[in-house]
């Protein structure tokens, strides 16, 4: 449906978007704004990776902090104990996320119902308690202090940008293929999906592994950027697990751009309200959830797209060139 010259407009928009993203920290030299932009990109990564599993495959996780914290602790410990360089350590953090995802998915995805969601919650709490109490390895509540790797925020910004872009590209690539159709089919009706030849356990596991990989990389990134982690921060139910859900739900589950919009809203609002309400800024999360569920059950992008251009729509996929010409 490239009528109305939509294609040229889209290319123009894409080039402009890339230019803005690449140029932002050069043009905007305010360190605080750069810091917010980095957090925005981090939340794009986290929201997008939760969304692949929760929004597209319909497998809701209440404990993605498990992967985030796993990634954070893996790369940090590798550096602190073995001197392993922290940026390649991000990749190993991601791999650790996959290794954690494998047994979880293998066990939980045979079952239906709330088992997976609750098992994830239990897993992240379990890991929080282990890291808190295994002091010989993790320093417990003292946490791990890392040296700052760069003085300027520029390198941090571009690494966050690369991570967010990689997560979105991976999602887009998967969703736009057979795998994407299968994940949606599983979300929509598992019995029908099985009857149509879909190995539902396997495809759910694939979505979980990709999701865990990027969430854990984001955790490693967070550790490297903040140069300090402790168990309550990286395994936080509210600040990580729930916030990831909120980013995806607010922006629009099962849409590529939803988590981007969700991340923008969450980072902006929680920053604005933190200044005035301190810890009570969490109320904002609660209010947002209610507002979104009541007024925009499909999320911001989902609701707008229903009336907007076809390529924005939450379903996907037949918007490939010529999809509706028959």
């Amino acid at each position: 449906m490239a009528a109305r010259g939509g294609k040229g407009w889209r290319w123009g928009g894409a080039v402009l978007g890339v230019a803005v993203l690449l140029g932002f920290p050069i043009v905007v030299s305010d360190v605080y704004l750069q810091h917010l932009a980095i957090f925005f990109l981090l939340w794009v990564t986290l929201g997008t990776s939760w969304n692949l599993l929760g929004g597209y495959a319909g497998q809701i996780s209440f404990g993605h902090a498990a992967f985030f914290g796993m990634g954070a602790y893996t790369s940090s410990l590798l550096f602190a104990k073995l001197g392993f360089p922290p940026w390649p350590g991000m990749l190993l953090g991601g791999v650790a996320g996959i290794l954690l995802a494998l047994p979880m998915g293998h066990i939980c995805f045979r079952l239906r119902g709330p088992f997976f969601a609750l098992s994830m919650l239990a897993l992240s709490e379990f890991l929080r308690l282990v890291t808190l109490n295994w002091r010989d390895l993790t320093e417990g509540a003292v946490g791990i202090l890392l040296p700052p790797f760069f003085i300027s925020k520029l390198p941090y910004y571009y690494i966050a940008l690369a991570l967010a872009a990689a997560t979105m590209l991976a999602t887009w690539f998967l969703v736009d293929s057979k795998v994407g159709f299968y994940l949606l089919a599983i979300r929509e009706d598992q019995d029908a999906a099985e009857a149509l030849g879909i190995d539902t356990t396997w495809y759910k596991l694939v979505a979980l592994m990709v999701s865990a990989f990027f969430s854990a990389m984001a955790g490693s990134y967070y550790a490297n950027y903040m140069a300090y982690i402790d168990p309550p921060i990286v395994f936080s139910i509210v600040d990580i697990s729930i916030a990831m859900i909120l980013v995806a739900v607010l922006g629009g589950m099962g849409t590529l751009w939803g988590p981007v919009v969700g991340a923008l809203v969450i980072v902006t609002l929680s920053e604005a309200f933190r200044a005035y309400f301190a810890a009570a800024h969490l109320i904002v999360y609660g209010v947002l959830i209610i507002v979104v569920i009541v007024f925009m059950p499909e999320g911001i992008v989902g609701s707008l797209a229903a009336r907007g251009p076809r390529w924005l729509r939450p379903r996907m996929a037949t918007d490939a060139p010529g999809a509706s010409q028959g």
Binding site: K178, L184, E188, D189, D191, A195, R315, T318, A320, S324
Partner: protein
């Protein structure tokens, strides 16, 4: 006989309740078999056991010589048996075309190929004009048609149709029946499960199998089954069986 699907002494017990008892039957390639039986006779259970949703308590299910017992529904679909559901299961937030593409992906890997197959099958069943509608917006008749289209798109050798015409008006029933009649020319055998002994099922089926209380009480040509006293009794009660 050269059965494609050969069900032998199949039993399924739920708790203490026997839903299927020593059921034997076979399906030949390209055959249309009417599976009839009153509500609760075990038709859906039979479909669920054949397609791997439930494991049988005892018995064998051979498909082209391969034992299906213990396989998952998706394995069985890939071997060539698929089904439709008594309570239809569309993928509601996906379009009609996307629903059928999901089926087509059982045999192909790319979107282009799946789209091509899906469009062809939508044409076969007459749903093509509605390809861009969301599945949840369809009428019951169209949802049933969508399930059939999706099933055909997996390129099966055998389709099990659970309550194919339940809830359809006479015109829709005729249309569905006509479609089922055309399956053998595509090399697809079908088992059409229906609750009532209807003229339409009698006319299209090569063979009829009758279930009652989980047991096969009769099988044969439509005429034979229609005059079988046990079948009449199952549907109408003993008093009628004696006068028939």
């Amino acid at each position: 006989m050269g059965w494609m699907l050969d069900v032998r002494k199949l039993s399924k017990v739920f708790g203490g309740l026997p839903a299927l008892v020593n059921v034997d039957f076979g399906i030949a390639p390209g055959e249309i078999v009417g599976l009839i039986g009153p509500n609760g006779a075990g038709k859906t259970t039979l479909f669920n056991v054949i397609t791997g949703v439930f494991r049988p308590t005892s018995g064998e299910i051979l498909f082209e010589g391969k034992n299906l017992v213990g396989l998952k529904p998706h394995d069985i679909c890939r071997l060539g048996i698929t089904r439709t559901f008594q309570v239809v299961k569309p993928l509601p937030k996906m379009t009609v075309l996307e629903n059928v593409m999901v089926g087509a992906f059982a045999r192909v890997g790319t979107k282009e190929e799946a789209r091509e197959i899906a469009l062809r099958e939508l044409e076969f069943t007459g749903l093509l004009p509605k390809r861009d509608a969301l599945a949840r917006s369809l009428t019951l008749a169209d949802r049933k048609l969508l399930e059939l289209t999706r099933a055909v798109a997996t390129r099966p050798k055998l389709i099990l149709l659970d309550e194919v015409v339940a809830g359809l008006n006479p015109t829709e029933t005729e249309e569905t029946i006509t479609l089922i009649q055309r399956l053998p020319e595509r090399g697809i055998a079908a088992v059409a499960g229906v609750e009532h002994v209807m003229r339409v099922i009698m006319t299209i089926s090569h063979r009829i199998v009758v279930l009652n209380y989980g047991r096969k009480i009769a099988q044969g040509s439509p005429e034979e089954v229609g005059h079988n006293p046990e079948v009449i009794e199952a549907y109408l009660g003993e008093a009628y069986a004696e006068t028939a």
